[in-house]
């Protein structure tokens, strides 16, 4: 590891630390309905949406109605995204003529299963992509279907987190807010203004934003090159800010148009973390003790730094088998060394490892390097980050509500240890909350492990509709433990609503489309609905006064307990699966074994 590499990680973390409070204060004002400096310009837009949508700004919802609203907008989102994809041949802004008879030869057909998988994927904020966007999706679908879901699914995630915070902050209350109002405010005051600025910044750095057909050029040596175009920057901005992560291009944020410079990459990473970090402060502020928020931030920060440095170390250490072919393994100042397969020169090892950690700490899933080509330990970090439910700043909203669910489990365990009824920020944590928290954690584990298990052993008949003939493991691009890791990563990414991939796997078959679709749906809604149930239950409770017997949850002891809970629950659940994949592969790589 070099000083420059370490500096990139540390400085990035300091930036996140510095913006947490201002972002948190701003978000609190937005969701409490107070005036901000943007209201002078944007308040009319907010009111217009209420009028057109038939939304009553002053009306509040019980947790069941809030949950019903989440399901309602999700169902219509799913239908709209599916329909627009299937109809793209008849819709405008399709200069490459996808889904028409004039489609280019390398175009991917928009089959019902692909459209279903993609619609679920974007609606659940996963953004797993089984297709190459440049050869599959028209500009219209990218904008009016996929990018719209980048906004809606992210706004719903934040709304759920806000509702859960209200559950802790309110007492003896029936309602936890209004989903429609929360989604509207989030979009109008947070997503749109930041996206506009970020998109302008990315175009300045070199990203594209146009509606023209793909450019065909004669290269300097006289061959022909087709260069994909499109309205990329507008989608890129919300893809990062909403921690969606679905690339406008197949290479995602490693494509030079989708991440032209290391500076644009720094901004992309800040966009991923800024709202998740701000929410920790908002939590503390709304429950009346900002130290509660900083305790969550501290637990997240420690786990983030640990992951980033382990990943950086592993990638910089590189692959001894490749080094033995006469390739430089150490950093020399004029070349990056380490494991450069699947990485870009402008980013190098430290920045790519940092991004991989950030994108999986949060449920973003954008990539600037191919995780499939990472060293085994370098690839283990993203896997483990997702498997522990992305609680490290996390997906917008999803990170905070997942972390709060772990906090409920942590105080429950703490309460058992000291023999007292657990409490968290002034609320008694009782049977119902703990049950709901366990449902949420188990749903993810169930999806990942059961689907990975089935896909590792299931065979298909010769002319099966569901998959190519033979075992489903044949869809992987690598053999041996790495092939298993590709399957494990796919279902992990789906269940974590992450969307990054060990992308060598071909998941564009009806079998993977269906199982990953179910995987993403269960993981999204079996987390959101229990979280809202906890919110409703907590909001109705009375505040318990702090006594000498209360386990404090705003000090370093609690931070350690919380980290311990996350790591132990994760490790106990996934250690066997990880052993069969990256851990055994690590030792095989050190021994020069290949498959």
């Amino acid at each position: 590891m070099t000083a420059l590499g370490i500096a990139q990680i540390v400085i990035f973390f300091l930036i996140v630390l510095a913006i947490t409070k201002p972002v948190g204060v701003f978000m609190t004002r937005v969701f409490e309905g107070q005036r901000t400096f943007l209201h002078a310009i944007l308040r009319p837009l907010e009111r217009l949406i209420y009028r057109l949508g038939g939304i009553r700004e002053d009306e509040e919802q019980s947790w069941t109605r809030y949950a019903a609203s989440v399901i309602s907008i999700s169902v219509f989102s799913l239908l709209a995204t599916y329909a627009l994809q299937r109809l793209q041949g008849w819709l405008p802004f399709n200069p490459q003529h996808f889904s028409t008879p004039q489609a280019p030869q390398n175009a991917t057909p928009m089959t019902p299963d692909l459209a279903f998988q993609t619609a679920v994927s974007f609606m659940t904020n996963t953004n797993w992509q089984s297709y190459v966007p440049e050869t599959t999706m028209s500009y219209f679908v990218q904008m009016a279907a996929l990018a719209v879901q980048n906004f809606i699914s992210a706004a719903v995630g934040i709304a759920v987190a806000v509702a859960l915070i209200r559950g802790f902050a309110r007492h003896s209350a029936k309602a936890i807010g209004n989903l429609w109002v929360d989604v509207t405010r989030c979009t109008v005051y947070i997503f749109l203004p930041i996206s506009v600025l970020a998109a302008l910044f990315f175009v300045w750095q070199g990203s594209i934003q146009n509606f023209k057909p793909y450019e065909t050029v004669q290269t300097l040596e006289g061959s022909t090159q087709v260069i994909a175009q499109g309205p990329l920057a507008s989608q890129l901005a919300i893809k990062m800010l909403g921690t969606n992560g679905g690339g406008f291009t197949n290479a995602n944020s490693s494509h030079p148009y989708e991440n032209p410079t290391p500076l644009s990459n720094l901004i992309q990473m800040v966009l991923i973390f800024c709202l998740g970090a701000g929410l920790t402060y908002m939590f503390g502020k709304m429950v009346g003790d900002t130290r509660q928020g900083w305790a969550l931030f501290a637990a997240m920060g420690v786990m983030f730094l640990a992951g980033a440095f382990i990943c950086y170390w592993a990638e910089q250490a590189g692959n001894p088998t490749i080094a033995s072919l006469g390739v430089e393994r150490s950093y020399t100042g004029t070349q990056p060394g380490g494991n450069m397969e699947g990485k870009e020169v402008r980013f190098g090892n430290p920045m790519t490892a940092l991004f991989a950690t950030v994108t999986t700490d949060a449920s973003c899933g954008a990539v600037i390097g191919m995780h499939d080509s990472f060293t085994p330990i370098g690839g283990l970090i993203p896997l483990f980050n997702i498997q522990t439910d992305e609680v490290i700043f996390g997906g917008v909203g999803a990170g905070l509500y997942s972390m709060l669910i772990y906090a409920v489990i942590a105080v429950f365990i703490g309460g058992l240890m000291v023999g007292r009824t657990p409490e968290y920020v002034g609320k008694k944590i009782e049977q119902k909350e703990v049950k709901m928290a366990i449902i949420a954690v188990l749903a993810t584990a169930f999806c990942i492990l059961v689907f990975t298990g089935i896909s590792s052993v299931i065979p298909f008949a010769k002319d099966s509709y569901w998959n190519g003939p033979g075992p489903a493991t044949a869809n992987t691009n690598n053999a041996g433990p790495h092939g298993f890791a590709e399957i494990l990563y796919a279902y992990t990414s789906g269940a974590g609503n992450n969307g990054s991939a060990f992308a060598g796997i071909n998941a564009n078959t009806p079998w993977y489309a269906l199982t990953m679709g179910i995987d993403m749906l269960i993981a999204r809604f079996f987390f959101i609905i229990p979280a809202l149930a906890i919110a409703g239950s907590l909001a109705a409770k009375k505040l318990v006064p702090v006594t000498s017997g209360t386990l404090p949850t705003n000090n370093s002891l609690f931070v350690i307990l919380l980290i311990g809970t996350v790591v132990i629950v994760g490790a106990l659940t996934y250690f066997p699966a990880l052993s069969l994949g990256p851990i055994v592969e690590h030792f095989q790589m050190l021994n020069g074994k290949v498959f």
Binding site: E134, L220, A251, P256, P262, E328, V345
Partner: protein, 192 residues
């Protein structure tokens, strides 16, 4: 529940129009106005003809040009289907491919000794990496200079003009832009 359904439908439509049409449309207009070159792909010309994008790699195989990194996009440098190799560290295919690239590199640059720069024989994440490391450029310098019949020192100064340090001094890595360097080579030291 009926009420929730109605609002859900209406808000989905409103969001589609606002964030799916108005927002990207307005951004396109704005970017075309303020940053037309970047917004249209940073296309670059040589001898009055558009030859590619300044930030997208293209194939180079002739000795008088600097060569980009190997590419796994389509059949190589396919800017309509970006992609990495997605080969893992214990993949036989990966090791065989790197072995082949190492042999090719030594054949093309017979004067080169020592370990190859790590970026020179690995495929990038996008398959369109426009850059190579300074060491990788240096390793090809003798071949390019010889093919163009000029001294390495003259080319080295041009190389420096097309190199970049890490952004803000600490972000990312030093790098050399292959396409812009090659265009400049053709202008300054045309092959006789």
């Amino acid at each position: 529940m009926i009420k929730e359904l109605g609002t859900g439908l209406r808000l989905t439509i409103i969001m589609t129009v606002l964030t799916g049409l108005i927002y990207p449309g307005a951004m396109t207009a704005l970017c075309q106005l303020i940053f037309p070159s970047q917004a249209n792909g940073s296309m670059i010309t040589a001898n009055g003809k558009v030859v590619g994008s300044a930030i997208i790699a293209q194939s180079f195989t002739r000795p008088e040009y600097f060569h980009p990194r190997p590419s796994a996009a389509g059949n190589g440098y396919d800017a309509g289907a970006s992609s990495g190799s997605n080969l893992g560290p214990t993949s036989q295919k990966l090791i065989d491919r790197v072995k082949g690239s190492v042999a090719d590199f030594h054949k093309e640059n017979p004067g080169f000794t020592g370990n190859l720069p790590a970026d020179s024989v690995t495929t990038s994440s996008s398959g369109l990496d426009p850059h190579i490391s300074p060491a990788s450029a240096e390793a090809q310098l003798a071949r390019v200079a010889q093919a163009r019949g000029v001294g390495p020192e003259q080319i080295r100064s041009l190389m420096a003009a097309h190199s970049q340090d890490p952004d803000l001094g600490f972000l990312g890595e030093p790098r050399v832009n292959v396409l812009t360097l090659n265009i400049a080579l053709d202008e300054r030291f045309p092959k006789k």
